[in-house]
Amino acid sequence: MKLVVCVSLVPDSTTKIKIADSQTAIDTAGVAFIINPYDEYAVEEAVQLKEKNGGEVIAVSFGTDKSRDAIKKAFQMGADKGILIKSPVPDFDSYTVARNLADVIKELSPDIVFFGKQSIDFDGLVVPNMVAEILNMPSVNVVTRLDINGGIVTAEREIEGGKEIVTASMPVIIGAQKGLNTPRYPNLKSIMASKSKPIEERPQTYTGNKSEVFEMSLPSAKGKGKILEGGAASVPELVKLLREEAKVI
């Protein structure tokens, strides 16, 4: 099986985000970057499939030189080869990412392409489906279970308030959701083996963002909590506030 996993590098989820002076990007000074957590489910699924059925796992990342770290993490988890599509500057939108990934995926012609369902930095949730659209491939996103039988995949995906079972024929694009598997700790053996795995560097093939960031701002600070001090007598007031102000019941 030829399996491609698309991985990206994102700010660590515990980072205290600051907006850069440009007001259109975050200030990356002192920010630690990690592989996008949803991509870990994608890598794990691909590596498990390889371990079961043989084949190879190729990790592909679009980004600046820094994105090598995402590929290296995929290596440590068991991916075999890497391709970095190198963008000279971190100025790209989801469409540019999707177009560049699509070019490489087309050439590799894999059986399955895995993505994390979304990147936790911009939360666009669009790249897997864009790539599918560009390549005219079926895609299933937010997948929590995957079975393969012959050339057909059966995927369980989360939908609002429930689950949906979808089948699709390979080649197919799968967006991994938490719960698809338990990503492994890279062990020392695979960390040491990852040193000799090759990362091929390719130039960006498409430029031409379809969107532009005008302004970035932090979410407004949470308002102060309210305490009703009248004991049981305040319950009607509490219910009223929950319904009308908090709008949770």
């Binding site: 440590q76 020392l188 960390i191």
Partner: protein, 391 residues
């Protein structure tokens, strides 16, 4: 995958000096500690049990004998990465780190260094995969700091060696499949492999510990215990052999206790920023800040000491006395930091909801074993003056 917010302590950007592999190894063990040790350790500590279920997982991770060559089940990693493993395991618990130290530095190392090719081929891969567990018996009831006067004897008889004597305070003794036992043969200290179940060998567990509770500590008793001739470690000879093992283990301890100190500092820093007294966080009082400044300074110094020690070890230049300096210093500051952290948490500091009192108790063992503070002082004293003051 990481489930914790802990990002380590790195005041001097020491990460910049680490290679990608060293960082990856550190991070994977850090995740392991967060996911496998921290959620269960307080209970095991309270129950005075070792969390056995994590042993196969540690083996799968590759932390047993990782500096040994691949052909013997090792990973061929350098000593910086090895030290970082010890640091992260001990941030979890000294008992868990002790398990790894004993298996790697006190069992696999002597078999690798003093063993025959057959012994190496047979034991090392099994110890790396934790299919077999080992222990190291040097200390005796009457000889701790002064192991050279040990009473345990081996005698050459038909069919092997007859061992008589007793060892005390032996980590993993009761659960070990093989004990590396140091005994005098014709007046000279030699190493022997004694397998579990050998007639005349028993290993009762030591009860009533108030420190290192999540670790098995035992007595080893040998009563006319006959072991095969092939179980002598052929290249061992003299007290120097077990002392070489101790140098390895002390090296790991020097790194390990920094993890312990980091856990205490991290907890105290967090707590002091959120605990409000007299209308402000206690971290805002100068006396608290004095403590935090001490902690972060001493942790940083210890990290730098370890890093340089690792370089020396990797270059083959490390002297045992340099290991004594790091073991002595780092245990001392870890003990002070654990105590400070406990005080800063006030009454909460005595609860098992926080790790500090467990660490505070554990450091008492770690500061004692592998040479007490005083012994390392005398080692350094002799080294700089040329005048031994042991007797």
């Amino acid at each position: 995958m990481s489930t914790s917010n802990y990002k380590g302590i790195d005041y001097y950007f020491i990460d910049d000096m680490l290679t990608d592999e060293e960082k990856a190894i550190r991070d994977t063990v850090r995740d392991f500690t967060a996911n496998e040790i921290l959620p269960v350790i307080e209970k095991y500590n309270q129950d005075m049990k070792f969390p056995f279920q994590i042993i196969p997982k540690m083996a799968e991770l590759g932390v047993f004998g990782p500096t040994l060559p691949v052909e013997y089940g090792g990973m061929g990693i350098n000593n910086i990465a090895y030290g970082l493993i010890m640091q992260e395991l001990e941030r979890g618990d000294s008992g868990v780190r002790s398990f790894a130290s004993v298996q790697s530095a006190l069992v696999m190392y002597p078999i690798f260094t003093f063993g025959s090719e057959e012994q190496k081929k047979f034991w090392l891969p099994k110890l790396a995969s934790a299919e077999k567990i080992g222990c190291f018996g040097l200390t005796e009831p009457d000889f701790g700091s002064n192991p050279g006067s040990m009473i345990t004897r081996a005698e050459k008889v038909d069919g092997g060696y007859l061992i008589n004597g007793a060892k005390m305070w032996i980590t993993n003794g009761t659960i070990a499949d093989v004990a590396v036992v140091w005994a005098k043969l014709d007046g000279k200290v030699r190493g022997f492999l004694v397998e579990k179940g050998t007639k005349g060998f028993t290993a009762p567990e030591t009860k009533g510990k108030l420190s290192l509770r999540a670790s098995v500590t035992s007595e080893l008793v040998f009563e006319d215990c006959l072991i095969p001739e092939a179980n002598l470690l052929p290249k061992s000879g003299g007290l120097k052999s077990p002392l070489m093992c101790l140098t390895q283990a002390r090296y790991g301890i020097a790194w390990g206790v920094v993890g312990l100190a980091m856990a205490c500092y991290d907890t105290a820093l967090d707590y002091s920023k959120s605990r409000i007294q007299f209308g402000k966080p206690i971290a805002g009082f100068q006396i608290t800040q004095e403590k935090l400044a001490y902690m972060v300074t001493e942790i940083t110094k210890a990290q730098l000491l370890n890093y340089r020690l690792a370089q020396l070890k990797d270059n083959g230049k490390m002297r045992p006395q340099q290991v004594s300096l790091a073991k002595r210093n780092n245990c001392e500051i870890a003990k002070i930091i654990a105590g400070m952290a406990r005080e800063m948490l006030g009454a909460n500091g005595i609860l098992d909801e926080y790790p500090v009192m467990r660490h505070m108790n554990n450091i008492e063992s770690v500061k004692t074993y592998e040479g007490t503070h005083e012994m390392h002082t005398l080692i350094l004293g002799e080294d700089v003056t040329g005048l031994p003051a042991f007797e």
